[in-house]
């Protein structure tokens, strides 16, 4: 697969993943651009891999995780764009927006684990490979992330879990 073929067929999916991961359309665009520029420079190596897209996705995660260090002023904030809400699904949209805003408050590695697990559908082993850590660490991130989301809306849930 050439770089152009990859961009033509898989860039949409990479951008969607980046938007969910960053919770910020502009930041997602910046992160993916940075990653693709770097990926282009060594595409010959990436193309030989079994799953080039998985590698690019890993690059996106790493870029996102290091974004604060490199570009502190562009730390994404939870942005809820009013025009995205649909009046006929206001309640559902509000709940989703609230949930996404709370996800955005989680530490980045916890967010990355939740997105990789619940958006990309990766196993803990695959997430561990992406993040370069142990599976038990992944499960720890996921547990704490899910617990934090539940605690903020339902304090009594923590006692029952």
């Amino acid at each position: 697969m050439t770089f152009d073929e990859f961009a033509a067929t898989r860039l949409d999916a990479v951008l969607r993943f980046a938007v969910v991961l960053t919770n910020d359309k502009g930041l997602a665009e910046d992160v993916v651009q940075e990653v693709l520029i770097r990926a282009h420079q060594r595409w010959a190596q990436i193309a030989e891999m079994e799953h080039p897209e998985a590698y690019v996705r890993k690059m996106v995660v790493n870029e996102f995780l290091s974004w604060r260090r490199k570009w502190a002023r562009y730390v994404p904030q939870a942005e809820i764009e009013p025009e995205q809400r649909q009046p006929d699904h206001a309640e559902l949209q509000a709940e989703r927006s609230t949930l996404l805003a709370e996800v955005a408050k989680l530490p980045r590695r916890q967010r990355a684990v939740l997105v990789l697990r619940y958006y990309e559908g990766l196993s803990d082993a695959q997430i561990a490979e992406v993040l370069g850590c142990a599976e038990t660490t992944v499960r720890g991130y996921a547990f704490r992330g899910l617990a934090a989301l539940r605690i903020e809306l339902a304090p009594t849930m923590r006692e029952s879990t």
Partner: protein, 246 residues
């Protein structure tokens, strides 16, 4: 309150994914950056410039050392000759900047007056962001390369294709003198405020910015707020000077 499930999280992520930007826009930006990057990878002036800078960095302290080699230790520690030199160059050759330092790698071009001048920041050497703030935005240019030069007041065309505000034309469309330029240090960020003089929100995500290296298209990010401008003239957009330049 306890009704949240993992499926709710999946649904929220799936909904968020629909907000992804157009792949064609990103692909175009990447292609542009990649092709510009190829051209700038080995600019013709870079090797001679680095060689000359390295020669100066090594040669000047060496010449000083040889010229004043017989001087007393008092002079080496900061005697009559030393004050004219930077502290790193006073004592010996070993104190010269390392080959990888910004000083020795700063790209310089010949100036009309016979000296040297830093090149204008190329679009591939900087990261440009335009973040909406109120009815205007904050323009930031961050250097990813060596020290380079920016116009102190950039020209902004918002939306791209609309009238230009900034140094290129005045409110009446008459050319005005090119403003002074400033130096953007390696890794530094210059910030300029862009605001709407009408107090309304500037519309259009694609904005053209020119800091002296030719127009560059930037996508405005961040949430928009307030009433939108119905008419945009050359005087509708006001651009401040970059801060963070030396």
């Amino acid at each position: 309150m306890s009704g949240r499930s993992e499926d709710d999280l999946r649904a929220a992520f799936a909904a968020k994914a629909t907000e992804a930007p157009a792949a064609s826009d990103v692909a175009r930006a990447v292609n542009q950056a990649v092709h510009q990057g190829r051209r700038r990878r080995r600019p013709a002036w870079l090797v001679p410039a680095v060689t000359a800078a390295a020669a100066v960095a090594v040669g000047v302290p060496l010449a000083i050392t040889l010229t004043h080699g017989g001087n007393s230790s008092k002079e080496k520690a900061g005697g009559p000759v030393a004050p004219a030199l930077p502290s790193a160059g006073r004592s010996s050759l070993a104190a010269a900047p390392p080959p990888g330092s910004a000083r020795s790698l700063t790209p310089q071009l010949p100036a009309e007056g016979g000296g040297t001048v830093q090149a204008t920041c190329r679009p591939t050497e900087v990261t440009v962001n335009l973040r909406r703030a109120g009815t205007g935005a904050t323009l930031t240019v961050t250097s990813r390369g060596p020290v380079c030069r920016l116009d102190r007041r950039p020209a902004v065309q918002w939306p791209a294709g609309g009238p230009t505000s900034g140094p290129a034309t005045s409110a009446t469309g008459q050319p005005v003198p090119k403003p002074a330029t400033g130096l953007l240090a390696s890794g530094a960020t210059a910030t300029a405020a862009v605001r709407s003089t009408a107090g309304c929100m500037l519309t259009g995500d694609l904005v053209r910015v020119d800091w002296g290296a030719g127009p560059v298209e930037v996508r405005a990010t961040g949430a928009s707020a307030g009433p939108t401008c119905t008419q945009v003239g050359a005087d509708s957009v006001q651009v401040g000077e970059f801060s963070g330049l030396s």
